[in-house]
């Protein structure tokens, strides 16, 4: 009995495999090949870039130094209820004395004390002092012995702190990064007024980034328009003036601004020479926000001009001519016809400049002084000077969150595939 197979199933390749199967195989093969080509870079970036970022995320919550140093105490402190006004039982004091002795001998007490000091300023010296003297405690009652070393051991706040931070992870770095802390009762509360610095700093960073972005847009738009409308020969020549700063070392440009802006610098000398300011009244343009804004606007301006230019290049000049011949005056024609056509470029350039500005470190560090520093400078400071790596990591993660949200927005508006360089 002969059956007639559907035409597609009947078609086979030379070696007898159905065409459908063969095509699927070929597709799978080329997909595998494409993946294989990308794989080396993916693996490389995972090790050199992604894992470091994840490590930073982890450092923002990591707390192993406390349970590792106070092994005995963290094991038994769960028996005590931190909500009562009573002090912990003798067994916990005994465990603490044991931990203090061991940690002092192995010299690991210092880092644990510093870690707990971030949460409760002042406990560092208490731990150091008690560690030194704990060796003399031979036998119980341990509670009285510790109280004799320092009365602070009779305050529930210290035991609440140990109870709360006995785990391997902590939320206190992230709380500190948004100006919050645990209060005496262990509830989350705002930091006292004089210690609230990070939210204000984030605010300043965002504000300065907005100012720089707006300045870049105001300066970049006319230049991009000129470049897009001039004949190609002239605009290519002028383009060099945009590309040369773009390609010049960041430190070279920052150095130039130092030479220009400092009190004994070129601009002040010029102003004194012309007689606008007196020799004693030289302007302070560096080591403040003015320095940061001027230098960063200069450095980031090419990142605004280039995307604007590439969008403006695609707008046919006939649009404006049509608007004019339909009776619009130049201003109306610009606002109603030209400007809406450049919105994509404005969005792309602004987000790019904003993303770059918000994470800037070098230029503010050199010309920003006290009032012109950004969140990055504090992160760097916590890593290399105060050594509070947990707080640095938590601040970094918050900054990263802002930038990734903007990156996502950029991807939605412009598309990463459309990113162009040079």
């Amino acid at each position: 009995m002969a059956t007639i197979a559907p035409a597609t199933e009947g078609l086979t390749t030379a070696d007898g495999v159905s065409l459908k199967v063969s095509l699927a195989r070929a597709n799978a093969r080329s997909r595998r090949r494409a993946l294989l080509l990308v794989l080396p870079l993916l693996a490389f970036l995972t090790v050199t870039f992604v894992l470091p970022i994840l490590d930073m995320l982890y450092r923002g919550i990591e707390n192993s130094v406390v349970p590792e140093t106070f092994t005995r105490t963290t094991a038994v402190i769960g028996q005590w209820d931190p909500d009562t006004a009573e002090l912990p039982p003798e067994s916990i004091y005994e465990a603490m004395v044991g931990d203090l002795k061991e940690a002092y001998a192995s010299k690991s007490l210092g880092s644990a004390a510093r870690r707990l000091n971030y949460d409760l300023p002042g406990v560092s010296s208490l731990f150091r002092k008690s560690g030194r003297r704990a060796n003399r405690i031979e036998e119980g009652p341990y509670k009285d012995a510790l109280l004799k070393i320092d009365k602070a051991w009779g305050e529930p706040a210290i035991w609440r702190l140990l109870h709360r931070e006995s785990g391997a992870y902590t939320a206190s770095y992230f709380l500190a990064a948004v100006d919050m802390r645990y209060d005496e009762q262990g509830d989350v509360a705002p930091q006292p007024e004089y210690r609230q610095i990070y939210l204000r700093l984030f605010g300043r960073t965002l504000m300065l980034s907005v100012v720089i972005t707006v300045l870049c847009l105001l300066l970049g738009y006319p230049v991009a328009y000129l470049l897009a409308t001039l004949p190609l020969r002239t605009s290519n020549l002028l383009m060099v003036m945009v590309l040369l700063p773009f390609w010049t070392s960041l430190l070279v440009r920052t150095t130039s601004w130092i030479a220009l802006l400092q009190t004994q610098g070129v601009i002040n000398d010029l102003l004194v020479l012309v007689g606008i300011v007196s020799d004693d009244g030289r302007l302070q343009m560096m080591h403040n926000q003015v320095g940061t804004i001027v230098a960063m606007t200069h450095i980031l301006l090419p990142f605004m001009i280039l995307p604007l230019y590439s969008v403006m290049k695609t707008i046919p000049p006939s649009y404006m001519r049509a608007a004019r011949s339909l009776g619009a005056n130049p201003l109306t024609a610009f606002v109603r016809v030209y400007l809406p056509n450049t919105v994509a470029g404005i969005g792309a350039g602004s987000i790019l400049v904003f993303i770059l500005a918000i994470g800037y470190y070098i230029t503010p560090a050199l010309v920003g002084g006290q009032s012109g520093t950004l969140i990055s400078n504090f992160i760097a400071d916590h890593i290399s000077t105060t050594l509070n790596w947990g707080l640095a990591a938590a601040l970094g993660v918050l900054l990263l969150g802002i930038v990734l949200a903007l990156y996502f927005l950029y991807d939605k508006i412009v598309g990463i595939d459309n990113m162009k360089l040079g």
């Binding site: 990308v38 992604v50 006319p222 010049t248 900054l399 930038v403």
Partner: protein, 283 residues
Amino acid sequence: MALPLHASPLERVWYYTFRGICAAIFAFLIGPIFVILPLSFNAEPYFTFTPEMLSFDPAGYSLRWYEDFWTDINWRLAVKNSIIIAVASTLLSTSLGTLAALGLSQSNMPFRSSMMALLISPMIVPLIISAAGMYFFYSRIGLASTHLGVILAHAALGTPFVVITVTATLVGFDRSLIRAAHNLGANATTTFFKVIVPLILPGVISGALFAFITSFDEVVVVLFVGSVEQRTIPWAMFSGIREQISPTILAVATLLVLLSVMLLTTLELLRRRSERLRGMSPG
């Protein structure tokens, strides 16, 4: 944008005002870079023009800061380190980035856009965050304060530029050329080196230049991942500006401006070649 003959007086005024504004902005862009060129020939250890310089007195000018740069052992070490690190990381990021771009531009690449977003991210993540993360992680695995650590870090920062430029070149790439090569008996390797590479070479080279300048100009990651042993030119400039400010930095800066002029010229020539190859009119 020539001024039309029928322009009204108001339009004429605006036309010249607009040109004036643009000229001022161009001056703002380029002025600071050129200010340091004459300053680097200052005979005095100042960061500004001395009266002798302004009156064009030859005594006001000297090459002492260039001499200083040339003879100082620390600057020499910085130049050597910069070149070693930049060349090694460029080779690494260019080879990995080009392969990845070839894979990404295949039509049936799975998860294309999310993969692209991940590969571009080293360019987007603020340098201070990359630097902090690398410092934490590289200390764990013993790569901190080594040349290798800095090279790997810089290579990671440079790959997005290579991926972007090579992918852009591949957009205009005629895939039938590959089939034609296969048809004429070339195997995959021959096709790659004889057909694909020559065509995408301009993109690869400009990507490599971007990667090179990224590493050569990078300071935040070196400051954290590296130590004095790995001091590069930007490292030395940064600490120089912070500690004792000397016009030697201006001399170095002038040399770096010359380097960027050379790079810019190379890129422009490459762009023209690429457009010619793809049959577009030279810009």
